[in-house]
């Protein structure tokens, strides 16, 4: 379970997230919805422990700090990859950085996300949608109990979105809990257990 | 297109970019320092260790003569202490006076009287070995003359002592033979004043325009120029208005440098600098277009400006065998600025060069933007 209590984040005078508390149960999938600038990405970054909150804390399965962080896989909204390396090299490199190199898992993700045609291409030569898929695949390499995805379908075509949905469904079946942010909830909402809407740094009902 | 808005924006960006502004501030400080304190600087205070292993007395005489040499500080140490200081960069040379220094001199044996170890990572040490040899020769000369006196019938120790007393300061006075250098008639204008302060500032100013020109990198690496021409804007005016703040900053920095240099024709030099800096802006445009981004610019711009400034004679005088570079450097803005500093003809050449670089800059930036489009 991920428990977030009273999370606050300010950037200068602007409050991006204003005292948000949230619980993600084991095996649950939450859709986090909201307009541009509502605070979705900031909240997700804090839950993923890549952004330190000004107030509040995040506890994962009763753990804090590095041990808690090790249980979370995070796919940020920005494409965070080694641009000069190929898709395959990125998957190997990131999996080694996180834990152990896992060739089978890399092949599995390449097949699931239909990246076989461009797996040996340099990332900086891919289209936006292709890079988004690689970004997601990198997040899914390595062991994780919780998956936090920030707009995983941005720039991906309809077929690609289906592949992503199919993959996430399989992850859910394995017992992985998720929080997914998305502008257009149409494809992913059927997958989710509940949705939360955020606006101006608060949850709204 | 609102070029004045561009000018305003660029001015604001330039004045808040403290990293590049520091280049001009440092340039002004260094140039003023060079103007005020230029001239040959003696090798002051280079530490040298002397290891006197001589069994006789002449080693001490050599040490005494050495101690009067300007530009060095000598200390007498054992070999182990000396090598330790040399290793730890506390000294830059060792003079080892051989144990049989006095004996060899008395037997007229020249071989290896003194061993000199010089650390070559000091420019000032290039005449050091000559100095040591000269001082050894001085000791020897005294001994030879003493020997001649000793051979005179009736000469006593008192006479030799008197000789030693008379010659104690002989090596610190002018010799009775000298040679002076006279440069030939080809170059009538023997420059007494080098105006290195102004020249180095010109180099720094060109470097400043290059390194602060990341906005010019955008001319080649983005679709900016196509968008400008698409809106019926003119690239030349775009460049002119955006480069103006950098040119003005360079000119403002030049004023104190010019004043402290005490140049006899400041107005002429200032006008020539205006033309020079405008040409430099065009040169900077080409460098920035080729670089494409800051990480390349920071490598290319120092080398490019150094090469161009070196061959135009701004950084130092060209070696005289390299006059061919002096001829080819007519295409470089610095060549004409150099001419202006030394009261030679410059105006027409400078204007032509400015026009040439400006057009070349426009052309190259346009070519790069087209190349980007085709990518």
């Amino acid at each position: 379970m991920i428990e977030a209590k009273g999370l606050v984040k300010k950037f200068g005078k602007y409050t991006a997230v204003d005292s948000i508390s949230l619980t993600l149960e084991k095996g649950e999938i939450i859709a986090l919805l909201g307009a541009n600038g509502s605070g979705k990405s900031t909240l997700l970054s804090m839950l993923a422990m890549v952004l330190k909150p000004d107030e509040g804390e995040v506890v994962v399965d009763g753990l804090k700090g590095k041990k808690a962080k090790a249980k979370i896989a995070y796919a940020p909204q920005e494409i965070v990859l080694f641009e000069e390396l190929t898709v395959l090299e990125n998957l190997y490199a990131w999996s080694s950085l996180k834990g152990k190199e896992n060739v089978e898992r890399a092949e599995y993700l390449i097949n699931e996300l239909e990246m076989t045609d461009f797996k040996r291409k340099r990332v900086d030569r891919l289209s936006g949608g292709q890079r988004r898929r690689v970004n997601l695949a990198v997040a899914l390499m390595g062991k994780h109990d919780y998956l936090l995805l920030d707009e995983p379908l941005a720039g991906i075509d309809a077929h690609g979105a289906e592949c992503v949905e199919h993959l996430l469904r399989k992850e859910k079946e394995k017992g992985c809990s998720m929080i997914v942010t998305e502008h257009n909830p149409t494809i992913l909402l059927p997958l989710t257990d509940r949705s939360l809407r955020i606006d101006g740094g608060h949850f709204i009902r | 297109m609102n070029y004045f808005a561009l000018l305003k924006g660029r001015t604001r960006a330039l004045l808040t970019d403290f990293s590049s502004l520091a280049v001009i501030i440092i340039a002004v400080a260094v140039s003023i320092y060079i103007s005020q304190y230029s001239g040959t600087e003696n090798a002051k205070g280079i530490m040298i260790e002397v290891v006197n292993e001589d069994r006789g007395t002449l080693g001490e005489r050599l040490t005494e003569i050495l101690s009067y040499e300007e530009g060095y500080e000598f200390e007498v140490k054992t070999y182990d202490e000396a090598i330790k200081n040399l290793a730890g960069n506390k000294a830059q040379g060792i003079i080892e006076i051989a144990p049989d220094f006095s004996e060899k001199i008395s037997r007229s044996e020249y071989e290896s009287l003194v061993r000199v170890t010089v650390m070559a990572d000091s420019y000032e040490m290039k005449t050091f070995t000559e100095m040591v040899i000269n001082d050894a020769i001085k000791v020897w000369s005294e001994e030879l003359v003493k020997k001649r006196i000793g051979e005179i019938e009736g000469a006593t120790q008192d006479d030799i002592d008197e000789f030693c007393e008379n010659t104690k300061d002989a090596w610190y006075t002018d010799g009775l033979l000298d040679i002076v250098s006279v440069m030939g008639k080809e170059d009538d204008t023997q420059k007494e004043e080098t105006f290195f302060g102004i020249r180095w500032y010109a180099f720094f100013a060109m470097f400043y325009l290059c390194i602060s020109g990341t906005w010019m990198c955008g001319y080649s690496s983005t679709g900016l120029l196509r968008r400008v021409t698409g809106r019926r804007g003119k690239i030349s005016l775009l460049f002119a208005f955006q480069s103006l703040p950098g040119i003005v900053v360079s000119l403002l920095g030049f004023i104190p440098v010019l004043l402290t240099s005490a140049h006899p024709h400041p107005v002429k030099v200032f006008i020539s600098f205006v033309i020079y800096i405008c040409s430099s802006a065009a040169f900077a445009l080409i460098i920035c277009c080729i670089s494409g981004k800051f990480s390349n610019l920071v490598l290319i711009s120092p080398i490019a400006t150094m090469v161009v400034s070196l061959f135009s004679g701004l950084l130092c005088e060209l070696p005289d065998w390299a006059k061919v570079w002096d001829l080819t450097s007519v295409i470089v803005p610095g060549h004409w600025f150099y001419n202006a500093i030394f009261d030679k003809r410059y105006f027409a050449g400078a204007i032509l060069v400015l026009a040439g670089w400006f057009m070349t800059g426009m052309f190259i930036s346009w070519i790069f933007s087209k190349k980007k489009r085709s990518e």
């Binding site: 965070v80 | 990293s19 960069n89 170890t117 070196l310």
Partner: protein, 402 residues
Amino acid sequence: MNPFSFVLYDIKRLFGHGKTAFIAMFSPIPVVLMFGLFMAPLLIDKGDAFYSVAILSEDDNNRVSQLMNIIIDYEVKTGNIAIYPVKERETGEKLVDDGKVAIFIYIPPNTYLDSMSGKKAVMEFYYSPTHAFDALVLYTGLKSSVSVFGQGIGVVDSGIQIAQKLGLSEDEILNIWNEGISDLLNLFIHRGRVIGKNGIFNFGADYHFRLVIAVLFATCSYLSSFPVIYLTSLDLSETFSKRSIPTKKLFGYYVARIISGAILIISSFLIMFPIARALRSIKINFALSVIPGIILTSFAFSALAVLLGSLFKRGQSALWAGLYFGTASIAAVSFLSDKADLPKVLSFLMRISPFRASVSIFSNAMFNFVAERYTFDLFILFCAFAIFSVAGFIIYRKRSAL
């Protein structure tokens, strides 16, 4: 994953990140070539004489001519100078003005007689402006030898005064004078042997070449580390801050970055060094002693680059810092490292400066090997590498973590 795979991936990233790494690696070429063009006359060791010297002595006494011949003879024998005797002063000056000779040495009448009688005699060294660079090298050596000889004449003169006081006849005094001057001339013939070398003068005339080439090596290797600065800063501000990485793995990646940076710097050395050897033949045993210096310099500068990249949030700021730091260090090494009258703090900093150690290793190991200094400089570089690595990793870890 094979640990070397990290290094290989990082090298691919360094070289794949635009042209920067290639520019860094090849930028020494124009610098060294430019330097070589300026130093060309000094670099011509063999071949035809490149000084042509006209000489005229109007002095009836041949003693001074003997001195000039002693000094110049060695250079003639080694083929550095060609001598053209002339009969008139105007001829000599014209030859210089027409560019047919580089130098004209003129010994006026009564030069020896004047110096014997206690009056200062001055010779002329007339040179062509187009050959000033070569001419002034010869002039410097000549002047130092001639002025010592001139002072020596004064010492002989003091001896003559003692002889006069002892009541010797004029002939005897003249004899002593001539013998005294012969003694001086003999000394000058064997001048170089005082330090165990052949030749008469200009030992160490190429020290500025040694220093400049060493400074160029250190500067170009430092510039080669700029891609490392930039990429490290980008990694920390954009990549690692957004993905969680365990410290142990981060350490592995950090080490891989230092290694790949060192490889980039070594590559630029591999380009610089043969060019430097081609410009000036360096003995192979000395050349080999540079290798540990190259390796340690590369690692030290790579660790420094990673440290600088870790300190700054923006890649551009990190590069600016690198540029200023490098410029200040190199300027300090070029102008201050040999000075004994610096404040204590500055003096200490100069002694432990990895730039200074690097310059010292190259200039000394290539030309003038002193084992103790060499070892000390290697030690300094190693310590610098250790300190930069540790400090860099602490900051690297802090910035890549929450």
